[in-house]
């Protein structure tokens, strides 16, 4: 078993004009090490950072990682993926005996990016897709949303309810810059930028950093009396091309299957107490809930309307406010999800604390234009 023995974060804010990317990493890392009660220069065997170069504005971001994590001349690497992939990497390193204590870091300095649309476009296939038309690549999500709504017979209100739930949940989270007391009418009145997708259904960008300290069974018990265990972790890629993609988040289905098998969970809808899922586009939350098998294919929207996924519902989802409330944290998205799950499991979530929670799921997608994602199951 692998445990989380320390967490730290910095943010989350819409901009961070006072701190460089190095300094937000330092702030978050220092808090995580203090939380775990370790000295990174002495105790940590491996450092993993999750970053994509073009989000950062460097050709090789890995260069700029070690100092602020306390990782100078120590095993340190970059995983070009979401934070949860980093958790998987640390998990494997600990399981293979390469590390007893491993640190995972991920951050977003989205406010440094001046042309976000072009950055996403830069990830699109240059030969077959990138230069068609002039629109913002959000249209790719809109196409997927269109098909998903058609297949699941969803109304626009069904999707709008996700925004209402998450932005209101975020009001109880002091680190959620996009919290708002919106109603379904507000969302429905928000302009349709990419039919059928509305402005409010797109998560705006945010800055922040999350650092986790993971440890092997033995070491974790030495460090803390109440570790949070990584019960299972899974990551999966479906395909790259839109011609072969399922348009129904199969990547999450497969990643969840892998994570649940590892965690020994047979009936996720019953066994999972709460979840933090990727909602960088509102419809994605519905899609991800379905593929995480937390609700039946055609039930998700009905349950959402009935309040099943509310913070006082049977299976609270995105109590933190999700990306719609906290913001799009790029590769740190999974970090914010995992952080919320750990805080809830430890009982440290403040006014949004859920009662009697033992198993939580964090899930993240690799954002446009990909069909990859990861899932982690945490428990106490």
């Amino acid at each position: 078993m692998v445990a989380i023995v320390g967490v730290g974060y910095s943010g989350f804010n819409s901009t961070t004009p006072d701190l460089s990317w190095k300094e937000i990493m330092y702030e978050a890392a220092l808090r995580a090490y203090t939380d775990a009660g370790i000295n990174p220069r002495r105790d940590v065997d491996s450092f993993v950072t999750c970053a994509e170069d073009i989000y950062e504005g460097f050709a090789i971001f890995d260069e700029f990682v070690p100092d602020q994590l306390g990782a100078v001349v120590k095993p340190t690497c970059t995983v070009c993926a979401d934070f949860l992939y980093g958790v998987a990497t640390a998990y494997m390193q600990i399981k293979s005996g390469l590390a007893d204590i491993a640190v995972v870091e991920s951050h977003s300095k989205a406010s440094d990016i001046q042309t976000f649309g072009n950055v996403v476009k830069f990830a699109m296939d240059p030969i077959w897709l990138r230069n068609i038309g002039n629109a913002h690549p959000y249209y790719l999500a809109a196409l997927e949303m269109f098909q998903y709504m058609a297949q699941r017979c969803l109304s626009e209100e069904d999707v709008a309810r996700v925004v209402v739930k998450n932005k209101n949940n975020a009001l109880l989270n002091p680190s959620a810059p996009y919290a708002a007391n919106v109603t379904i009418d507000d969302v429905m009145a928000s302009p349709k930028l990419f039919d059928p997708m509305k402005k409010m259904e797109i998560a705006p960008l945010a800055d922040g950093c999350v650092v986790f300290v993971l440890a092997s069974d033995e070491v974790a018990r030495e460090l803390t009396d109440s570790p949070v265990w990584v019960k299972g972790v899974g990551w999966w890629s479906e395909t790259y091309g839109y011609d072969t993609a399922s348009f129904s988040a199969m990547y999450t289905y497969k990643a969840a299957k892998m994570a649940y098998r590892m965690a020994g969970i047979e009936n996720p809808a019953k066994e999972v107490d709460f979840a933090e899922v990727d909602d960088r586009f509102a419809f994605k939350e519905l899609q991800h809930l379905e593929t995480l098998q937390l609700a039946g294919k055609f039930e998700v929207a009905r349950l959402m309307a009935e309040g099943y996924f509310d913070k006082d519902g049977s299976l609270p989802v995105n109590v933190s406010g999700g990306n719609l409330g906290v913001g799009n944290l790029l590769e740190c998205t999974g970090g914010q999800k995992a952080l919320e799950v750990v805080l809830q499991l430890r009982g440290e979530a403040g006014r949004r604390q859920l009662s009697d929670v033992e198993i939580g799921v964090a899930q993240a997608w690799r954002y446009l234009p990909t069909h990859s994602g990861a899932v982690a199951v945490f428990g106490v």
């Binding site: 702030e27 504005g57 077959w128 068609i132 196409l143």
Partner: protein, 154 residues
């Protein structure tokens, strides 16, 4: 941190860019496809020799079983599976003319293409609508996906 700057005017930003010119070769499958399109107005797909899946856009391998593929000719026509009207450009500024993007299932293949729709009003687009590609005049073609201007209703 023990001390921090308190005067926001002392905080600095540094502007810069990642600016390069990239030249992407279309590759083996792409080269075949675009040359055929440019010279002969014809469309190619690729069929897996093992499982029979027909890829569009074509590729030289089957991504599921890693077998080789063979090129097959298709009409290039297809049906709209999903569409959206995009109103913002890449800088999040309103587009003067909203663009209709569609996911088009190409006839005779298991694949699809994302491209623009033209010669049709947004309110008249329907799922399942048959569309066909409109190509640039032959002498203006460059062997790129933008040689297809848009798809229009059949």
């Amino acid at each position: 941190m023990i001390e921090k700057i308190v005067n926001p005017k002392e905080l600095r930003h540094w502007d810069g860019k990642i600016e390069l010119y990239w030249v992407y070769t279309s590759g083996k499958a792409g080269d075949e496809f675009f040359k055929k399109l440019k010279e002969e107005d014809k469309f190619l797909a690729a069929k897996c020799k093992k499982c029979g899946k027909v890829y569009f856009p074509p590729r030289i391998y089957c991504e599921k079983d890693f077998s080789e593929t063979e090129f097959v000719e298709v009409s290039g026509e297809g049906c709209v599976r999903a569409f959206t009207v995009a109103r913002l450009d890449a800088y999040e500024k309103p587009l003067d003319n909203p663009e209709i993007y569609a996911l088009i299932d190409i006839d005779g293949t298991d694949g699809c293409l994302i491209h623009l729709l033209g010669e049709v009003e947004p309110e008249n687009v329907e799922v399942g609508m048959k569309v066909k590609p409109v190509l640039k005049p032959k002498d203006e073609r460059e062997g790129r996906i933008t040689d297809i201007l848009y798809f229009k209703p059949l």
